[in-house]
Amino acid sequence: MNNFELKDFDYKVSKRHAAERKIKFKNVSFLNFTNRFKNFLQKRLEKKLEKATNDAMNSKFNKFEMETTIDGKTIADRIMKSRTEKVAKIEEKLIILGRGKIEKRNYINTRAIKLKEEMMKYVRKTGRDIYSIPEEIKENMLNGTEKKEINDTKRVIDEETIKLQDNLKNIETNVNEEEITAVINQSLNNISLENDINVAETKQSVDKVFDEKEMEDSNYSLSDESAISPIKNIKPMEFPAFSPVSVIEKKLSEVDLNSDVFGNSPKIDSIPVTSEENNVEIESEEIEREMPIIAEERKINYYEKTKDDIKKYDSLMDELKDTKINDIETAERIRNELEKTENEIIENKNNLSEEEALMLEKEFEENKQEEIKEETSENISFDYSEATARDIDKAISVTKSPKDLKAMMERVRLLQEEEKRTQERAEQAEKQKKAKEQEFEETARKLQAYGDDLEQKCTINAEKEKQTLEEAKEWDQAINSMLQAMNSSSNIKDNNIKKK
């Protein structure tokens, strides 16, 4: 059944818009569930670890990064540290997934520093202005790192075992050391037997096939409050906490003072007892009969003494732990601030173009040099931007170190170049301006000419119009006079007719 794939769910907040479905699982099935996901996460982390390790191993630096220091560390150092930190973070997650916990506090920083130092040790010039780890060394390191990890883990386990043994040895008692070991071993055996029984039972339940009937599902309704049972803490994956002190305490607390473990006196074949009556050797059985009270006292003394020693050990560990925690927290805070600064520098560097970055770096270098110069040259402040050659000479004569001189000369050279560039730009701008002006003038002239032409045309048209009007008037007048004449002649004709 491969129609699905697991996903890493990485959202912290989600909104629920509809009722979810719920389903019940037996504890064992649930554990299988979680183990499956754990394995999936492990594989993903392993892939990420491989990639992060390769990124760190394939780091490339230029001369500037290798030589420029900020607060005592080179830029290359800081870049490599940020990469090894990514590696260490993934390693820590893997360890937590695998072992259930991480023993060392501040694992990431310690591991990152160690890895960084290991890698920077092998960084050398591999090309023109390229510094990196050579290929043949990379392979060796990768193989060596793996083995070293395994050895480290083994070493940690061995160290813990040795510590436990030392602790056992260091406990002072009134009883023989061998007897203590024998007693503890016996109680250990008793407890391990119980565990074996539990494991057998668990194995049986795991082998049982998951039965459909055992899986219930129901539609969950928000209004059905009775369906919600009290929340209990679940620890599907529990790994026994390993601590020599806790082991000893646990073992001792489980020892029954009334049991035969402590009840039996040491097997002593005979003890020479001097008495006033006679020098007689008393057999062991007689000793047991005669000294039950002493045996009881011995039991109690042993237990109490051990408990006291354990308490002292615990309190000492607590004190050391507190001191260490304070130191580590301070160091962590400082480290975080440094990283922020470093990350800002790297981010800014990545966002700039090459030229800008180079300029900025040089500026930074210059600023740094100026600061150094100020410290060494008795508060002389000098504004290079408006310096003349004479002023620069004067300043140079005041400085004390060749480094300052070099920096200043470099600065002067840069300023001069900048000036040249600025001048060129100004000239170019001037030329463009002139060209634009000419163009403007020409356009203005053309417009003027066009305007004049239009005006002329308008005048001519106006005159023509005027002329036409006058002619029309004249025609008008002529027609009127003709009409008048015709009227008057017709009137006369009419009058003549009437008269007749």
Binding site: F4, F9, S14, K15, F25, K26, T34, N35, L97, K321
Partner: protein, 91 residues
């Protein structure tokens, strides 16, 4: 020596009435054919037989933020149950 706890994936669920629940995400998976994503989480509820209740929701990311929706379709729900059965078997 201090021991760091096992890393648990916690999620805050904001319900429709605005209340917030903290749940532990057990796993998430996606069907290859439909590309539908589901998340399985628990509120650590156990019954008298020590059986644990897990919740299943469909994850909708169309609006950018993840929204949890119920599974309405019975066929879809049966498919999801098949996956859960498969995952609950030992590897």
């Amino acid at each position: 020596m201090e021991n760091q706890e096992v890393e648990k994936k916690m999620m805050s669920i904001v319900t429709e009435d605005g209340s917030v629940e903290e749940v532990e995400v057990i796993l998430a998976f996606e069907f290859k054919d439909t590309k539908k994503e589901y998340v399985i989480y628990t509120k650590n509820e156990r019954d008298e037989n020590d059986n644990i209740t897990v919740y299943v929701s469909h994850v909708d990311r169309s609006s950018g933020e993840p929204n949890l929706l119920g599974i309405e379709d019975e066929e879809e729900w049966n498919r999801v149950k098949d996956v859960l059965r498969e995952l609950s078997k030992p590897e």
